[in-house]
């Protein structure tokens, strides 16, 4: 029992960076923008968040900086694809390459440094009164660090935003059929910009979790492909923030399962275990592509630049 609780607890921790990146990409794709630069934006957030944290020892400023860095990356993408109507796939891939280079360049003197004491203290596990005492669920869900709680809140808030508010509904309309949204009086360009930037900010937070809490130190390529898994998770979660919660933690579990198996004394090749999340990603994509429900299909206009006067 102890082992199961400890495994699930760790799965949630490992899934948190995935969760932020997935939520960010969901909100971006809901506005009709397929931003494949998640990995790049995460790295930018990881480095800038770490740098500001190290220099100011302020949690708030570190997180804010990470969000601004992610949003900054998204702004490049938004300007290219929304204003200049450049190809979204190419722009996104470019952003990933740019973000990786940016992180290496800015972080070259910080590699190997450990996150400052004050931040590590701030993000130590905190037991929520009452909820934390529920057997099994308590230790798994409610004895986590503040960042994990922020993840719960972000999913729920985004879910409410998408499905219960009129702005959220307008956003869904923009992603489905920007022409119809435009004719209904929605400012399509503004919606696309705002949500692409918000998505970038969330990806930046996901990166910051890795460098400030999870590791907690700055490593080269600290995201290790998590940005790509997040892109697949968006499809797995059917563009739904609530489902993203489960998807992210499931993949978080896959991420750490290797160590646990090895701890049990079972001999499995490390290389095989490293493959696991990606193999499951491929399987998931196959299964999802057989899904026939219209509601679970992605935003219809995702990936297509919008131009009002196009004939």
């Amino acid at each position: 029992m102890e082992a199961v609780i400890s495994f699930l607890h760790a799965a949630i921790v490992a899934g948190t960076p995935l969760l932020f990146a997935t939520l960010g990409e969901i909100i971006t794709e809901r506005s009709g923008n397929l931003n494949l630069g998640v990995e790049g934006m995460m790295l930018m957030g990881a480095v800038i968040g770490f740098m500001v944290g190290l220099n100011t020892e302020s949690t708030t400023l570190a997180l804010l900086a990470a969000m601004i860095a992610g949003a900054g990356g998204a702004l490049i993408f938004a300007f290219l694809t929304i204003t200049l109507r450049a190809n979204q796939v190419v722009s996104g891939l470019t952003l990933t390459i740019f973000g990786t280079g940016f992180a290496d360049f800015v972080g070259q003197d910080l590699i190997g440094q450990i996150a400052p004491e004050s931040l590590r203290l701030f993000f130590r596990p905190y037991t929520i009164p009452l909820l934390g005492d529920i057997p099994f669920i308590g230790p798994v869900l409610f004895r986590q660090d503040a960042f994990v709680y922020l993840g719960y809140a972000a999913s729920i808030l985004l879910g409410l935003y998408l499905y219960k508010t009129s702005t959220g509904m307008n956003l869904r309309a923009v992603g489905e059929n920007p022409g119809a949204a435009d004719a209904a009086g929605i400012n399509v360009t503004l919606y696309k910009y705002l949500h692409t930037l918000l998505g970038g900010a969330l990806c930046g937070l996901g990166g910051a979790y890795l460098s400030l809490v999870y590791v907690p130190a700055l490593q080269e390529g600290v995201t290790a492909g998590r940005g790509w898994i997040a892109v697949a998770l968006v499809i797995f979660a059917a563009w739904n923030p609530y489902k993203a919660l489960f998807g992210a933690y499931l993949f978080g579990g896959l991420d750490i399962i290797g160590f646990r198996i090895q701890n049990l004394g079972i001999d499995v090749s490390q290389y095989f275990i490293d493959m696991l999340p990606y193999m499951v990603t491929i399987t998931v994509l196959v299964v999802v592509s057989m899904r026939k429900s219209r509601e679970k299909a992605g935003p219809k206009a995702c990936g297509i630049p919008y131009f009002r006067e196009e004939r």
């Binding site: 219960k164 508010t165 009129s166 702005t167 509904m169 307008n170 869904r172 309309a173 489905e176 059929n177 022409g179 119809a180 949204a181 435009d182 004719a183 209904a184 009086g185 929605i186 400012n187 026939k292 219209r294 509601e295 219809k300 009002r308 006067e309 004939r311």
Partner: protein, 519 residues
């Protein structure tokens, strides 16, 4: 401005080098139905898109209630009381009617579902619009979608209603219902602008008519002072004979037999439900039905492009089901399908005519390299035969006008000398003259003994051109009737499945067929 509600003055708009509107003037009064009449490409939709804020005019001014306005976005037009019902509905498929209605409105941040539903029910009752607020758009029929569009516009408090070719997709009964709603709007003091190229509809509902030709205003007339013939002349710029000839031919042998054909789409939904019919050589069999009733799937199933679940297609004593599209073409069955965007299927837009011809011919050639000589010859033949307007055979197809593109497609299909020709929407989006060229071509093939399956949209054309009309509704045949002895209303009832001749016993269909062959 006197009592003019809307007035548009000296409007100009170009797209690149193409001038869509040149010095157009339009004045619409309160409480009138104003028809905007013109052929395809005469600039009607462009003009209205400027009134609804989708396009910005290059020059010219728009006045609403005597005040000059400038629309930067559709939002501004909505605020000025303009509501446009677009030809291609602007609805979000995965949302409910209610959600579509309140989309983009400034209501409270958190939505109160129940009061909204009630408000919408009230409104639909007041205007006699029948709609279920909680139904998803993808479950709606075309008629329902249009009703929703109208309700959406009214909800926004529109006083100027623009309808862009609203009847193109409706059954005659639905059209009647729409006209009733339009008259009601007029009584309530709205200005209704009705875009169309159907003269009988203009004569039925319009009060005044403005005719456009090639992007310019020809004139505005009162309905009382005009007649269909006069309007045609204004539209085309020359006197014209607008009757389609149905040539009488000897028809005796069955060219193709379709038995119990069933198919499902990628979502697992049945799209063809046990269709059985014959096509005779030297006949044009028309197919009528509401858009999306299985027309596309039927064409594709015969051409071997859509998997068949059950049933057979017998051609020259051989079952075509399971054969590859290439084999079916070689046997003499040809498909020319004009999708809504015209270029989606059949032609490669950025290639020239020669290469598009090669695409269909090269399969038979030997060797690694393509020999373009025969294709070049064919292209010249096709251009001459169908009088296609093009700078040359090496000109990209995309750069041609819609009518010429369609002629290229049809010409290439005819070139393979098919015994059965399936043609879907061959006149879609064509100007009147080009339409007649296409009808003549089809009649010529018919005379040669080709069996033609003609899938059409305009019931008037189907009635005049075809020998028999097969009506389909939701993937099912609801009747096969002789075009000479049937009316639009009857077909309309079959299109919605209200009347189903096939269910009233196999006998009647058989009788029809027998009657038919004995003629």
């Amino acid at each position: 401005m006197e009592n003019n509600y809307i007035s548009m003055k000296n409007i100009n708009k170009s797209f690149g080098k193409v001038v869509a509107n040149r010095n157009i003037n339009l004045a619409v009064r309160r409480g009138e139905i104003h028809a905007l009449l013109g052929e395809n490409g005469s600039g009607k939709s462009t003009l209205m898109n400027m009134l609804s804020g989708v396009y910005t005019p290059d020059s010219g001014s728009i006045f609403i209630k005597g005040k000059e306005v400038q629309f930067a976005a559709p939002k501004d037009a909505i605020e000025a009381g303009i509501g446009m019902i677009y030809q291609h509905f602007k609805l979000i498929d995965v949302m409910t009617a209610k959600e579509n209605i309140i989309l983009g409105r400034k209501n409270s941040f958190l939505m109160n579902e129940k009061t909204l539903s009630d408000k919408i029910r009230d409104m639909s009752a007041r205007f006699g619009l029948d709609i279920d607020p909680d139904k998803k758009v993808y479950n709606m029929s075309v008629g329902e979608k249009q009703t929703l569009e109208i309700l959406k516009v009214l909800y926004r408090g529109a006083e100027i209603l623009i309808l862009d070719e609203p009847t193109a997709v409706l059954t005659p009964q639905e059209t009647e219902k729409l006209f009733k709603i339009m008259r009601k709007m007029k009584e309530e003091g709205c200005a209704v602008i009705f875009i169309t190229h159907k003269l009988n509809e203009v004569m039925e509902v319009a009060d005044r008519i403005t005719v456009l030709r090639k992007g310019e205003t020809v004139m505005t007339v009162d309905k009382a002072d005009t007649n269909p013939k006069h309007l045609t002349e204004l539209m085309m710029g020359c006197p014209a004979d607008l009757s389609i000839k149905r040539i009488e031919t000897e028809k005796n042998n069955v060219a193709m037999e379709v038995r119990n054909l069933s198919a499902v789409n990628s979502e697992g939904i049945k799209v063809l439900k046990g269709m059985s019919f014959d096509i005779y050589s030297s006949e044009i069999l028309g197919v009528a039905g509401i858009a999306g009733s299985g027309q596309k799937e039927l064409c594709e199933a015969i051409a071997g492009l859509h998997p068949v679940k059950q049933g057979e297609i017998v051609f020259n004593g051989e079952n075509l089901v399971g054969k590859s599209p290439a084999e079916i073409i070689t046997k003499g069955v040809s498909l020319s399908f004009i999708p809504e965007d015209r270029l989606g299927m059949g032609l490669v837009a950025s290639m020239d005519i020669v290469n598009n011809v090669v695409l269909k011919l090269y399969q038979k050639q030997k060797g690694i390299f393509i020999d373009r000589k025969p294709a070049e010859q064919k292209s010249v033949e096709i251009i001459e035969r169908l009088s296609i307007q093009t700078p040359g055979i090496k000109h990209p197809v995309r750069m041609l006008s819609g009518g010429n593109i369609q002629k290229v497609l049809l010409g290439r299909e005819l070139d393979s000398r098919p015994q059965v020709l399936i043609t879907a929407y061959p006149v879609r989006g064509l100007d009147v003259n080009s339409c007649y060229t296409i009808y003549d071509l089809l009649n010529e093939e018919k005379r040669k003994g080709v069996a033609i399956l003609y899938i059409g949209e305009d019931l008037d054309v189907l009635l005049e051109l075809c020998d028999r009309i097969m009506v389909i509704c939701a993937g099912e045949i609801t009747g096969i009737v002789d075009a000479r002895y049937t009316t639009k209303e009857q077909i309309g009832l079959m299109m919605t499945g209200t009347v189903n001749l096939m269910k009233e016993g196999e006998k009647s269909e058989h009788d029809n067929a027998n009657n038919y062959t004995s003629h």
